[in-house]
Symmetry: C2
Subunit: 251 residues, 2 copies
C-alpha cells in the first residue's frame, strides 16, 4: 500500500517541499504513478526516510547522509546502532548543557561563581561533530562507513584528559612538521619523528593500526586542500615522511 506525498508529509511531519528535495537529491526516491506522475511512497521508502530523519536530527548534512547510505557496506541495522550511540552522546551533551545552565542560574542568585571558560561548557560541538561537518563525506567515500563509525565511536568515548593529550600531540606534531620540512629531507631523524607522532596521533581514534590505511590517509591529505591546510600546506612532506617510515618498517 503506497502513500502519496501529502500523506507522507502528514505522517512524518516533513514538508512536501522537503520530500521533493530529498527525491531530487537521491535520498528517498519513490516510484511514480504512471498516469499523473504522482510520487508513490512504499513502506521501504518510509523506512529509508526515517533513517534520513534520524541522521538529520543528528545534524548531518544531506550530502553526508547520502554518502553514508550509498556506501557499499551500508546496512540499516548498522546505521541504527550508529545513530543510537550518537543520540546517547547527544543526550550526554544536553545534560552537560543543563548543568551549565543551572550553574548560571545559581550564579545569578549569588550562590556560586563561574569562570568565563565554564560559561560556555556544553555549548561547543564535540570533536566528532566538528570532523563530520568538515570532512564527513569525503572520508566516507574513501574508507567506507564501517571504519568511520568505529573511529567515531572511539572518539565519542574519549574522556577529557585523553582528548587534551591528543590535542597537545596534534599541536606539537604541526610544530615539528614545519621544522622538519625546512630541511627538505623526508628521511631525516626529525621527519621520522614526525611520522611516528602522526602514527601515535592516529592511535587515539583508530581501533587498530594498519600501515596501508596510514599510507592511503597521508596520500589523501595531499589531494584534499582542507587537509593540506590543516597540515599548514605541508601535507606532501608529511606523506613522504610517513611513506619513508613505512618503507623502513618493511625493509
Amino acid at each position: 500500500m503506497d502513500y502519496t506525498i501529502g500523506e507522507v508529509a502528514q505522517l512524518s511531519s516533513v514538508s512536501e517541499r522537503t520530500l521533493r528535495y530529498y527525491d531530487e537529491l537521491g535520498l528517498v526516491c519513490p516510484k511514480r504513478d504512471r498516469q499523473q506522475l504522482y510520487r508513490l511512497y512504499s513502506k521501504e521508502d518510509l523506512k529509508r526516510l526515517q533513517t534520513v530523519l534520524f541522521y538529520r536530527e543528528l545534524d548531518f548534512d544531506l550530502a553526508t547522509i547520502k554518502a553514508i547510505m550509498e556506501d557499499s557496506g551500508f546496512s540499516i541495522v548498522q546505521a541504527l546502532e550508529d545513530q543510537r550511540q550518537r543520540l546517547l552522546a547527544k543526550r550526554s551533551r544536553l545534560d552537560n548543557l543543563l548543568h551549565t545552565l543551572e550553574t548560571t542560574i545559581a550564579e545569578q542568585r549569588g550562590e556560586t561563581t563561574m569562570t568565563d571558560k565554564e560559561r560556555f561548557e556544553g555549548l561547543k560541538k564535540s570533536l566528532v561533530e566538528e570532523n563530520e561537518k568538515k570532512f564527513g563525506k569525503e572520508i566516507r567515500t574513501r574508507y567506507g562507513e564501517e571504519t568511520v563509525a568505529k573511529s567515531n565511536a572511539q572518539m565519542m568515548g574519549m574522556d577529557e584528559k585523553t582528548f587534551n593529550e591528543m590535542q597537545e600531540l596534534s599541536t606539537l606534531l604541526l610544530e615539528k612538521l614545519v621544522e622538519a620540512e625546512k630541511s627538505g629531507d623526508c628521511r631525516s631523524p626529525l621527519a621520522r619523528q614526525v611520522a611516528m607522532m602522526h602514527k601515535q596521533w592516529l592511535a587515539y581514534t583508530w581501533p587498530s593500526y594498519n600501515a596501508e590505511a596510514h599510507a592511503n590517509l597521508v596520500r589523501m591529505y595531499v589531494d584534499d586542500e582542507r587537509f593540506n591546510a590543516f597540515y599548514l600546506g605541508k601535507a606532501a612532506f608529511l606523506r613522504d615522511a610517513v611513506l619513508a617510515l613505512l618503507d623502513e618498517r618493511q625493509a
Copy 2:
C-alpha cells in the same frame, strides 16, 4: 578585563564571523578600541553571548532571540528559567526519539512491529516549536515575553489527549467560522458560538483568561496575514464575532 574577538571565539567556540554577525544584528555589541576599532568584549558581553547561545541551541532564530532580549520585561534570570524548561522539554523529546530508535532496532530483529505512524514518533517538532518558528517574534513584540513564556510552559506540559482535544476544537472552530461568515452577521447565534469556541481554545494555552487580551489578539489576527491565512481569510469576521461577544458580556 576585556577580550578581543579572537579570544572570545576561542573561549566560546563561536567563530569570529558569527560574532561580527551578532554585532551587526545588535545581539551582542562590544565596545570598540579607540585606535584600531577592535571589538572589545566585556564580562557582560560574555553573559549576553551565553544567553544568545542557549537560545540558539534551542533552535530560536536570531530575530526572535533579539526580540526576546529587547523586551522591556526581559531579565536574564527569567530567560534562564525559560531556557531550562525548554532544555528539559528537549531532553524529553530526545528520550522519546531514542525510544523510537530502539523500537526500530527491535523491529529489524523481528522482535516487534511498528505502524507507519509510530516510525516517526519523536521526529516531529512540538507545537511550541512550530509556533515559535512561525510567529515567535511578532507575538513577543505585542504581548511581551512573560505572557508568551507562560503560555509556552503550559503547552509544553500538555499531554497528548489534551493536545488532540485542542486540535479537534481548532478544526471544528474553523468549520463553524466559515459557516457563520456566510451570513455576514457577526451577532448571529452561530457567530457567538464561534467566539465562545475561540475563547475555549485559548483556555488551553493561556494561564488565565483576559477579555482585553482576547480583543487585542483577534485584532492582531486581522493585521497579520499569516494569522488571517490560518483563519481561512476570515480573521475580520472572527474579530467582529469576538468583539460582539465581549460587548454583550459587558452590557
